[in-house]
């Protein structure tokens, strides 16, 4: 059953972190929830993290979820959380304000406040906040055998994944500039400003701490993470997936597999009404598209899921989980052996 997916490049890698990405509306939440359920059922302590600003994990499991991991009712070994970037941005801003008022006089605080406000209203702030939470979750990995990320639609996720590289070089430059200016002040040793050495500088320390954080994230993404793309059998979805995979490859991240969702179900053989003919015609086109998907992409198709009439929640989730050919069970077995 897991035969298809063991054919990939790193069958033995331990995928602590599994990301599901794809275009908006292809069913990422359903697939990632189903996958998480499956991992949990296989005996792995699993955390499902939703990063899509329009959360719908709570709807899938039919219970309220929050910004912190909480156990999912009625499912063993399964925890879930919905990251709220707004709340994180707000909290970050307040932390800075608090430490600001600890350090400097109130007159200056007002001046600086504008800048803090500004920095937290920039378009990048949401992504940065989301990224911080990602790293938090990754750092607390010991608590879980597997963390499943239901990511926001393609663009956002990819930008998020490219952040470590981008910011590492950015921070390098900042540290260099800061070091140079400290060095020069030291040489001149003038003015009321006391010459501090680079190692004592709280700013350099802070920047290095940040850099370490980015390096950690980059490393984890490259070494401990697996990416799956969810797509529908339609042109738009296929093309977007193609682009997304190319983008990931640019960051040295490979795609483990594809999940094709929303396939049209077949009518019974004896049926020959208009509806049945429509379904058959559609299935024919989809079969061709599926063939295209299998031939264009290097990544294997690990599951095909048929459309369902009802919303997928509750027991339907188990049915979808069964359709997933991702090797949760095999991984659990090998974990048990090695542990």
């Amino acid at each position: 059953m897991a035969g298809d997916s063991t054919a990939n490049d790193r069958p033995d890698a331990e995928d602590r972190f599994v990301f599901f990405g794809g275009k908006g509306g292809v069913g990422k939440t359903t697939v990632s929830s189903a996958y998480a359920t499956r991992c949990a059922a296989a005996g792995l302590d699993t955390l499902l993290v939703s990063t899509d600003p329009a959360h719908s994990t709570a709807d899938v499991f039919d219970q309220p979820l929050g910004d912190d991991p909480r156990p999912v009712d009625g499912r063993e070994n399964l925890w879930a959380m919905e990251i709220d970037p707004d709340a994180e941005v707000e909290a970050h801003m307040n932390r800075i304000r608090r430490s600001l008022s600890d350090q400097v006089s109130p007159a200056i605080v007002n001046e600086i406040d504008r800048q803090i406000e500004l920095a937290h209203r920039t378009p990048g702030a949401h992504e940065a906040a989301l990224f911080d939470r990602f790293v938090d979750v990754m750092r607390s990995r010991e608590e879980y055998d597997r963390v499943v990320f239901d990511t926001s639609p393609t663009g956002g996720t990819l930008r998020l994944l490219s952040l470590p590289e981008l910011l590492e070089s950015w921070i390098d430059r900042l540290v260099r500039k800061r070091t140079e200016s400290i060095d020069l002040y030291e040489k001149a040793a003038i003015g009321e400003r006391q010459a501090t050495s680079v190692d004592e500088d709280p700013i350099v320390a802070r920047l290095r701490e940040r850099k370490e954080n980015f390096e950690f994230a980059g490393r984890v993404l490259r070494e401990d993470a697996a990416f799956f793309f969810v797509l529908n059998p339609d042109e738009l979805s296929i093309r977007e997936t193609e682009r997304a995979i190319a983008d990931l490859a640019e960051h040295d991240l490979g795609v483990r597999g594809l999940v094709v969702n929303r396939l049209t179900p077949a009518p019974d053989d004896h049926e020959d009404g208009r509806g049945a003919r429509y379904l058959r015609a559609r299935r024919e086109t989809e079969r061709e598209r599926l063939a295209t998907i299998r031939s264009t992409f290097d990544a294997p198709v690990v599951a095909t899921i048929e459309s369902r009439v009802e919303e997928i929640r509750g027991e339907h989730l188990d049915a979808v989980a069964d359709a997933l050919d991702v090797d949760a069970a095999a991984a659990a077995a090998s974990d048990a052996r090695s542990g």
Binding site: Q115, G124, W170, L174, K177, S181, R210
Partner: protein, 98 residues
């Protein structure tokens, strides 16, 4: 006062004058130059950190905002300098004392 003492005193005086001259002409401008350079470098650093204060979007301003508690005073002075500084030429010209 012996001749030797007078010569010694004169040499002391001469040394002070020469040192003053040296300090005024060479040493001080050099230190000033380094100081200016350090300030310029710091300005660059602040600009790289807080480019968004001047409407240039920065990918890292969310993170550099964390530095503000340590940089508050410098930041405030810097912001004022950036708005006030009439031209780079003027600032560069300050090192020549005509």
């Amino acid at each position: 006062m012996s001749l030797a003492d007078r010569i010694a005193a004169y040499r002391e005086y001469l040394r002070e004058v020469l040192h003053g001259l040296y300090h005024g002409m060479i040493e001080h401008p050099a230190y000033e130059l380094i100081e200016k350079e350090a300030e310029d470098r710091e300005d660059e650093f602040l600009l790289a950190c807080f480019a968004d204060a001047f409407g240039v979007p920065s990918p890292a301003s969310y993170y550099t905002a964390e530095l503000l508690p340590y940089l508050a005073e410098e930041f405030e002075q810097w912001e004022r300098r950036m708005w006030d500084r009439s031209s780079v030429l003027e600032r560069k010209g300050q090192q020549y004392h005509f």
